[in-house]
């Protein structure tokens, strides 16, 4: 049995760790609230842009944008993985990446090549370790992701799609359901399904005036729509990350409590044993004299 002093040191060390995990839990809680707020405030843009796109679909039938055209044969697939930059958030990244990996395996079996755009450090590390073809990446988004940072990486993928280097683009991220539950999901980004736009609100069908010309405007609109979808995913992923971290750190704090309890018990027993031993030694010594 370990001596009293060693046990005391160990208790102290566990207590210190517990302080850290508790602090991290509280930080994650407050960050999660902000991330949720950000996730919500990103929604109106997506809805508006979808409305405009729906109006357009009605107003302009003759120009079919490449983003809306389904390709007959899919040889190469693009995958955008959204993960966190930091760890210590439970199974969040592991689950998302496992899903990504299973998708990639399926594609490989179907003889399709996969190109990856990694958003977030964890996904980037994972993909490069696994020898996936990473075409673009962005890491270190911080607590407040900005669309500006995402434009470049997305464009690489979109350009590849337009150039015919990839025929489909999918997006993997962790959906925020509630504080206790987050779910990794795969969504198809390109080609956009027409139904995604739904019906325009009031069924306008007037011809638009375009400045400078229809093609430019529609191209820009589509690009922004895609970016908004990815941004939404990043914002959602961030809320998930902080929720997962909060739960993981709460569990760690509770576990530390348990460990401290056990160690304390052990310490008391050891102490008691030492006293008993000493007493019996004194008694034996007195008897001998």
């Amino acid at each position: 049995m370990a001596g009293g002093k060693e046990i005391r040191t160990k208790i102290k060390s566990v207590k210190n760790t517990q302080k850290i995990t508790r602090a991290m839990e509280m930080v994650a809680t407050s960050k999660m609230r902000k991330a949720q707020e950000r996730m919500r405030s990103a929604r109106p843009y997506g809805e508006k842009i979808r409305n405009v796109a729906a109006h357009l679909a009605v107003a302009l039938v003759d120009y079919a944008h490449p983003f809306l055209q389904k390709r007959d044969t899919v040889k190469r697939v693009g995958l955008i993985t959204v993960t966190s930059d930091k760890g210590l958030c439970g199974g969040l990244n592991t689950n998302a990446l496992r899903l990504a990996l299973s998708m990639m395996k399926q594609w490989h079996q179907a003889g399709r090549e996969v190109a990856v755009t990694a958003i977030g450090n964890k996904g980037f590390g994972f993909m490069s370790r696994n020898g996936a073809k990473v075409v673009s990446s962005i890491t270190g988004l911080g607590d407040a992701p900005h669309l500006e940072q995402l434009v470049g990486p997305i464009k690489v993928m979109v350009d590849a799609y337009i150039a015919g280097e990839v025929d489909e683009v999918h997006l993997v991220y962790t959906k925020f359901i509630n504080t206790m539950k987050q779910e990794p999901v795969v969504e198809q980004l390109l080609p956009l399904s027409g139904e995604a736009f739904g019906q325009p609100e009031h069924g306008y069908n007037w011809e638009y005036l375009y400045e400078p010309d229809p093609k430019t405007v529609i191209d820009e609109l589509m690009t922004r729509y895609l970016e908004a979808l990815v941004y939404q995913a990043v914002a959602e992923n961030m809320a998930s990350e902080n929720a997962a971290r909060m739960v993981a750190m709460k569990a760690a704090t509770d576990n530390a409590d348990k460990v401290i309890g056990n160690l304390q018990l052990l310490y008391n027993k050891t102490r008691q044993a030492a006293i008993t031993k000493e007493l019996s030694e004194i008694c034996a010594g007195a008897a001998a004299v």
Binding site: K48, V134, G152, E207, P212, T216
Partner: protein
């Protein structure tokens, strides 16, 4: 009561303005345009500049917002401004894409990209537009 229309200004990151207005002026692709209710449907790119909204309630002061670009959709009674949060342009986007690519390649190997000139130019354009908005605001203050 005067005719009004609904105005929404949204960016990918947040809802910037939402309300009813009787007049909106915006920096469209081919120059400043003024929009009154029942304007013909219009879809335009907007340039960096000031967006001025005259609220339906004439007691409220005009709202002047700075936009760094984006898209404008006009329906007879709805105006939607999809504002960009960042400076955009074909060459800047291109530079960013190159940057993202380079980042991936370099991180795989174990250095940093540049997108200087195009960005500097656009930043200058933005700064000028911002100043113009400030000027406008100042004038109205007195």
């Amino acid at each position: 009561m005067a005719m009004t229309m609904h105005v929404d200004v949204v960016s990918a990151e947040e809802l910037i303005y939402s309300g009813t207005a009787e007049f909106v002026s915006a920096p469209a692709e081919k120059g400043e345009i003024g929009i009154l209710p029942r304007h013909a449907p219009l879809l335009s790119r907007i340039r960096p500049g000031a967006l001025r909204i005259k609220p339906a309630n004439s007691n409220d002061p005009d709202v002047v917002l700075y936009v760094s670009g984006g898209l404008l959709e006009v329906q007879p009674h709805v105006v939607t401004v999809l504002a960009d949060t960042a400076i955009r342009g074909a060459d800047i986007d291109e530079a960013k894409a190159r940057d993202a690519k380079a980042r991936a390649e370099e991180a795989l190997k174990g250095k940093s990209g540049a997108m200087d000139f195009a960005l500097a130019q656009a930043e200058l354009l933005e700064a000028v537009a911002k100043l113009a908005v400030l000027e406008k605001l100042k004038k109205r203050g007195h």
